[in-house]
Symmetry: C2
Subunit: 382 residues, 2 copies
């Protein structure tokens, strides 16, 4: 199979490229390196050193047929010509601004996030429609599209409801918690509309936060994927692991009852591999919830604290005022059936994996220490 990965230089894009190559697929990796620049912008860097795109291309070719293309998905002609030239079976779209705090910094970042994310997806929709309408579009969304509703989150694009005594099928209700999360909601609606009008084929993935330093293919530094830990780019588990290594307290926001569906990098990459190798029917819109464990951030702090203790690191847990506007205690019960039905079986549990992560991060303590001031929350919603 030939797969284009938009955002191939990112945390998921790079290890997914390696996984697909090892499975014998051809991979064209596309990136404009926006995340590298945007992490610098907030005064931080990846905890693990990552090779340049050229070096990555060389490393990836140890595993299979890989090509790196520098390009921006907000350039329609670039996207269209890429599809014309490469004629892929699937396009995986990770090329979005992926940080909630980054989108909440100010109006400029809010507008950039809206433009960048919506335009990239619209360009991909039109390019597929124009060039080859049977390409499978695999789009990274987020479980954050749902917010934290009081109902069991259905794993489907539409749901039957009764409103004032009459029944209808409505798009599964969403309520996001940042401009970033809203862009993912809007992408979903734009894709549902493109599916309705033009019959394009989508897998829309509502993924929970991913943690981890490793996949099976990450066997040495040349295969490292980026690992962000600052308050803007680092997600909660990864940030806590770095806090532990740096001897900083672990910092749940507010009460810490915020519960999400987490999964390891290895499990994320494997789930994506399965979704790509098992496409939906032509013209189908497949809506997937992608996570492994439901955990509160309070619980995660305990896991990381225990893991650190086993490794001889003594760390405290210190709740800090919540910089976000979000429910700190809530119901959370998302459905999970599509991935299991396709044979997905998770391999990692968070409690164990955080030990591996801390061990992987320890040799880079000095490197991370340079950016330790970027760990505590500064970006406030209010």
């Amino acid at each position: 199979m030939k797969v284009i990965i938009l955002g191939a230089d990112g945390y998921l894009g790079w290890p997914l490229s390696l996984r697909l190559l090892r499975r014998g697929h051809q991979v064209v990796g596309v990136d404009n390196l926006a995340t590298r620049r945007a992490v610098e912008e907030v005064g931080s860097d990846s905890a693990l050193p990552i090779p340049s795109p050229k070096e990555r291309e060389r490393a990836a070719r140890e595993l299979g047929e890989f090509k790196f293309v520098f390009g921006d998905v907000t350039d329609y002609k670039f996207v269209r010509e890429l599809l014309r030239k490469e004629n892929p079976d699937a396009v995986v779209h990770f090329a979005e601004q992926r940080s909630a705090p980054y989108s909440m910094r100010d109006v400029e970042h809010a507008v950039y996030t809206m433009h960048n994310n919506l335009e990239g997806t619209l360009n991909l929709i039109y390019a597929v429609k124009e060039v080859k309408s049977d390409i499978h579009i695999v789009k990274m969304g987020t479980m954050g599209e749902y917010g934290t509703p009081n109902f069991d989150i259905p794993e489907s694009a539409f749901v039957e409801v009764e409103i004032n005594g009459r029944r209808d099928r409505i798009p599964t209700p969403k309520f996001a918690g940042s401009w970033y999360h809203w862009t993912k909601v809007y992408d979903t609606y734009n894709m549902l509309f493109a599916n309705k009008v033009w019959g394009l084929t989508f897998t829309d993935i509502m993924q929970g936060p991913v943690y981890g330093t490793r996949t099976e293919e990450i066997t040495g530094e040349r295969f490292f994927t980026r690992f962000d830990f600052d308050e803007v780019w680092g997600t909660v588990v990864n940030r806590y692991c770095v806090e532990a290594v740096l001897g900083l307290p672990l910092t749940p926001y507010g009460k810490g009852g915020q519960t999400r569906g987490f999964l390891s990098l290895e499990d994320s990459v494997e789930a994506l591999r399965i979704l790509i190798e098992n496409p939906p029917k032509q013209g189908e819109y497949r809506h997937v919830n992608q996570f492994v464990e439901l955990r509160s951030v309070r619980e995660i702090a305990t896991f990381v604290q225990e893991a650190a203790r086993e490794l001889g690191l003594d760390v405290k847990v210190e709740h800090v005022p919540n910089p976000r506007v979000e429910a700190e205690e809530h119901y959370y019960n998302p459905e999970l059936k599509v991935l299991p039905s396709l044979g997905f079986r998770p391999k990692k549990v968070m409690r164990e994996e955080v030990k591996v992560m801390i061990k992987d991060l320890l040799p880079f303590k000095e490197r991370m220490a340079r950016y330790s001031s970027a760990v505590m929350p500064r970006t406030r919603w209010k």
Copy 2:
């Protein structure tokens, strides 16, 4: 009261400016003249000749304190400085690309519509938050945000539903039928989020299609508002009236059972006046359905045909293949309570008003005839 109208050169913006002036309010009218250019772009023009912004400023000053400012709401600094300088009580936001077919022309128009509409509203949100957070934001949305659901459309931003046995309050379900309509949905969600996080005060208006040539203030040519009739910019009632004047058949799309909530220009302007003069409480998000008569396009064709006949014009009704993807027969029952509760009483009925419109348009038949080739549908969804 001091009111800024963004999009004051438009079909609604101009007569609303006149109405507010006549009521003794100060009005600052802002426009970048995008609609004038975009109508030219599709090879058409307003059926009624409209004065230049300078001439309009002069005419408006006969009624009260008016100023025209040339500017673009996608320029954040412009919006912020405008609010700083003018210190308004309310900002009415009409400055969006308002045509569904225009947004469906191609990827360039889709992306322009998304960018222009979402960015303008985001800029206004941030400027109000930065400059003076108690400004009443009056935002023009569309009944088209709802699509044509099988339930009675509630006149509220949220609705209680039961999903798989558990109850929750969800944003009122929406499903739009064009990129343009989706931008209005996304604006609504962005404003709901800004209301939740920052407590900004909104009136979000779900308005049905407006028809008409007149308001009480339009007493001569210098007060004319634009009147579009081509397939891209002309809405259905207005387009049929021009077809009647030009001796063309009236052209319902498909079966013609498409039903919407219509209102006359006079009633729209008066409803807006009431919403501005009766703002919601500080920090409230007021969600309004704004329409007068539920009519199918098939029925409207009959009204226009009868009106034309009374005026001695013999016109045919010829259903044409539907260029859009939409239900041609459907349930439609939107709630209407906010405007009546504020004292709104409609003055016009469509059946009568279309006669006035045809009479008003007849003197400009030659002018319209130059653009008659732009009337029939060319922009197709598929």
